[in-house]
């Protein structure tokens, strides 16, 4: 664990441990490239990470504190003849963070505090415990709030271990396209207490949710913290198509040995105010009680027929898929299922796109289960780490909390010759990969970044059917009002090892129309019980988080006025699958190594034979050599 100097030369230097970066790292290392893989954060997987509950609270705290610009320093003494310096600085791609706690804190103040210390993953970050203050009426604190243009965080009273009032309401500042400012009046606040000290817990009045169900004992915030390590809460919300490029890559490379998966057990949809199960296999269709016999026959005939491309389909090219579905004389039930849950497109999606998407869905059915999807145990944040482990096993060097300060450009060739790391060391390299957060200022200003709206809920029961704690559900939600985004929701039970027993973890994701809170809270209020909901009897939200994340799908690999051997890796995109990231990783790999195989299978550890002591034995045992010999 000791700090040591890094070697001064690598083939590939990669900054950021997101999915694209990690796949390229594994691919390069696997074929013998010397890889240095860094992340300025203290955790793996960047915006693809997953956190324990307490880890997530720390992450939230960090996002709110993360405003200080990195100091610029003069590196000219490290420059050589004909070199130019390109400074790197990162910018967070997270916006509009809002936290709400809808469960009671309970009296276990002391215990909660002590537990949070024990279960915090990262030792150097103080545990953040959060007091609930969901009481809408409790607005006194808002008086002295000022709008802070840099972020939404109002750092009043911020001193170590003191109360840290965070005002997260000012949503319009970061997205100029938000014309709708009404939500500003919806004053909600989350109070974040930096709480290693017991006295930090005191000032909070215990807010008791007024409409809590008397029949069921709610899990308290203290319990969530105490069982915090049972949670693995992803920043992204995706599923793995069982024949998608990520699954194929995991299998092909043997990286799959590091992970296990659960089948997504059912597809649900939200329609006319009810959650319904979507029949997608033959067995489902025939077992379905909501479809008539005629509908069952029609659906089966349609699904069978659309597997092949036909002439009558191409006549609809460019016209909406919904029109095509209508003309197939499919009733409204079936149109809804086919459009929103199977094709997972919108009303104006062209027919050819809708059909391609339907075929993809059908192609993925039945490989592992009766839905097309898989979900990794312990969350999606495992996946980049699996690739990082593979990279490390093949010699890649890993440093977290370690970044790059600048690139050294060889002006004659327009190539990056070397980098300077955050410790001021010059490291030569042939190729550099950067996560997209490092190229913010270089982005084309004409195309403002797109955002995803995300919400993460911890609820106390499943949206549909019994609470068996085994179901994993994909929920498709058409726009609830005109102009509202279509939302993809994933409900995870504790069997996925992402939440504690007795709770469900619900991820919502859509393309931003406005802030995450504006986009998603109306839906959450309707589908779940929160203090704002009218009807009870739905799953209660214990805790929820809203945020916007920059949509990675718009990011180009090259350009950005960067040297020709510097590639930009995009962050998470809004699609359900991982096609964008895997396609991009393969593209970058082949730009670096056009001749090499992308992620050939790694040998099975049980098949490796050690060749015993062929080297002449003299001198003491050597430390592992840094020179990689494959």
């Amino acid at each position: 664990m000791a700090a040591e100097d890094l070697p001064s030369e690598f083939d590939v230097v990669i900054l950021g441990t997101g999915l694209v970066e990690s796949v390229v790292a594994a691919a390069c290392s696997r074929v013998g490239q010397r890889v240095l893989h860094l992340d300025r954060r203290s955790y793996y997987a960047a915006n693809w990470a997953s956190f324990t509950f307490n880890g997530l609270l720390s992450w939230i705290q960090q996002q709110q504190d993360d405003t200080q610009p990195e100091e610029t320093q003069d590196w000219c003494d490290l420059l050589e003849e004909g070199e130019e310096l390109i400074q790197l600085s990162s910018q967070s791609s997270i916006r509009n963070l809002q936290v709400f706690t809808y469960t009671s804190k309970e009296d276990e103040v002391e215990e909660a505090s002590a537990d949070s210390v024990n279960t915090t993953e990262e030792e150097q970050h103080g545990p953040a415990s959060q007091d609930d203050d969901s009481n809408q009426e409790n607005l006194e604190n808002h008086e002295n709030q000022e709008e802070n243009k840099e972020n939404q965080v109002n750092h009043e009273n911020q001193e170590e271990n003191k109360e840290n009032q965070v005002n997260q309401e000012n949503q319009e500042e970061n997205q100029e396209n938000h014309e709708n400012q009404e939500v500003n009046h919806e004053s909600q606040e989350a109070t974040i207490t930096e709480g290693a000290e017991p006295e930090a817990e005191q000032p909070q009045s215990p807010a008791i949710p007024s409409q809590s169900e008397p029949s069921r004992k709610k899990i308290s915030f203290a319990q969530l913290e105490k069982e915090g390590r049972r949670f693995n809460i992803d920043l992204v919300s995706k599923l793995m198509y069982s024949r998608g490029s990520l699954v194929e890559l995991l299998i092909k490379s043997n990286v799959s040995r590091y992970a296990e998966f659960k089948k997504v057990s059912r597809i649900l949809t939200y329609r006319n105010g009810e959650v319904e199960q979507v029949p997608c296999t033959r067995a489902d269709v025939f077992a379905s009680r909501q479809l008539s016999v005629v509908e069952k026959r029609k659906l089966m005939r349609f699904l069978t027929s659309c597997i092949e491309e036909k002439d009558d389909q191409s006549a609809y090219n460019g016209r909406p898929y919904l029109e095509f579905l209508r003309d197939q004389k499919l009733g409204e039930n079936l149109q809804h299922f086919l459009l929103y849950s199977i094709a997972m497109v919108t009303e104006d999606t062209p027919t050819e796109v809708g059909l391609a998407s339907t075929r993809n869905f059908l192609r993925c059915l039945g490989r592992y289960g009766n839905t097309p999807f898989l979900f990794p145990l312990y969350g999606l944040g495992e996946i980049p780490q699996c690739f990082c482990r593979m990279c490390a096993v093949f010699g890649g060097i890993y440093c977290l909390r370690h970044s790059l300060r600048c690139l050294l450009l060889d002006t004659a060739t327009n190539r990056c010759k070397a980098v300077i790391d955050s410790r001021g060391q010059r490291i030569s390299c042939s190729h550099v990969l950067l996560e997209e957060n490092y190229v913010h200022e270089r982005k084309n200003v004409a195309t403002p970044p797109r955002f995803l709206s995300r919400a993460v809920l911890i609820t106390d029961s499943s949206l549909h059917g019994s609470d068996s704690e085994q179901e994993v559900s994909m929920v498709t939600i058409p726009p609830i009002t005109e102009g509202a985004p279509a939302v993809k929701m994933v409900e995870l039970s504790s069997s996925t090892m992402t939440c504690m027993s007795g709770t469900y973890l619900v991820h919502l994701n859509c393309s931003s129309v406005s802030s995450a809170y504006q986009d998603l809270s109306p839906l959450i209020t309707t589908m779940f019980s929160t203090p704002e909901s009218h009807d009870q009897g739905r799953p209660s939200v214990l805790w929820c988080l809203y945020f916007n994340m920059e949509d990675g799908s718009a990011m180009e690999v090259e350009g950005h006025d960067l040297p020709s051997n510097v590639y930009v890796c995009s962050g998470p995109d809004g699609e359900l699958g991982h096609e964008h990231a895997i396609t991009q990783a393969e593209l970058i790999f082949h730009k670096i190594l056009p001749e090499e195989d992308f992620c050939p299978p790694a040998p099975n550890p049980e098949d490796i034979l050690y060749d015993g002591g062929s080297a002449p034995s003299s001198g003491p045992e050597e430390e592992p050599s840094l020179q990689l010999e494959v």
């Binding site: 995991l250 040995r257 592992y368 780490q385 990082c388 482990r389 093949f394 550890p605 002591g613």
Partner: protein
Amino acid sequence: MAGGSVSECKEYLFKVLVIGELGVGKTSIIKRYVHQLFSQHYRATIGVDFALKVINWDNKTLVRLQLWDIAGQERFGNMTRVYYKEAVGAFVVFDVTRTSTFEAVSKWKHDLDSKVKLANGDPIPSVLLANKCDQMKDSSNNKTLMDKFCKDTGFLGWFETSAKDNINVDEAARFLVENILSNDQGLPHEESNGDRIKLDQQTVAAESKSGCC
């Protein structure tokens, strides 16, 4: 990670971590234990995740022990969660000839306990290995101190080992496995892992044809 029982014979698969500072002999211990080899020279093991040792524990118990080395390249202390995940035991190794490696032991132990726990929330059983004891100058020293250190830091116990002279390596492993087994028997088996899916070539070959239509 406990396996199911096949008729009378119980089969277990245990993931055990081997951690400690650079050059303390982690890989040597694994090679000695699993392959009965010792080499004065070794190179950073490239492409090897773990070594497997199959132990016929008694006539009713088969233990498959996966020993996970930290890839030499994760030596900056930044192991992925993949490494720690579902481990049920650990060896923390130091080099008796270098005190700095002993000083790092509590850091490694702390790191270990913060990253992985048993299903019931207890720390995973861990054993401290004082390796390269063949090179130790005076062997009479501080047994009581070591016992106290283990008690304070939460180790089950400690062994003086030498991968080179094959001292105590088997004994230490047996000691750890005994503890893992007794943990396993004390605990109710976790919910059935039957519907967990592994993605591998066999799955692909045997994949079901029960498509939708």
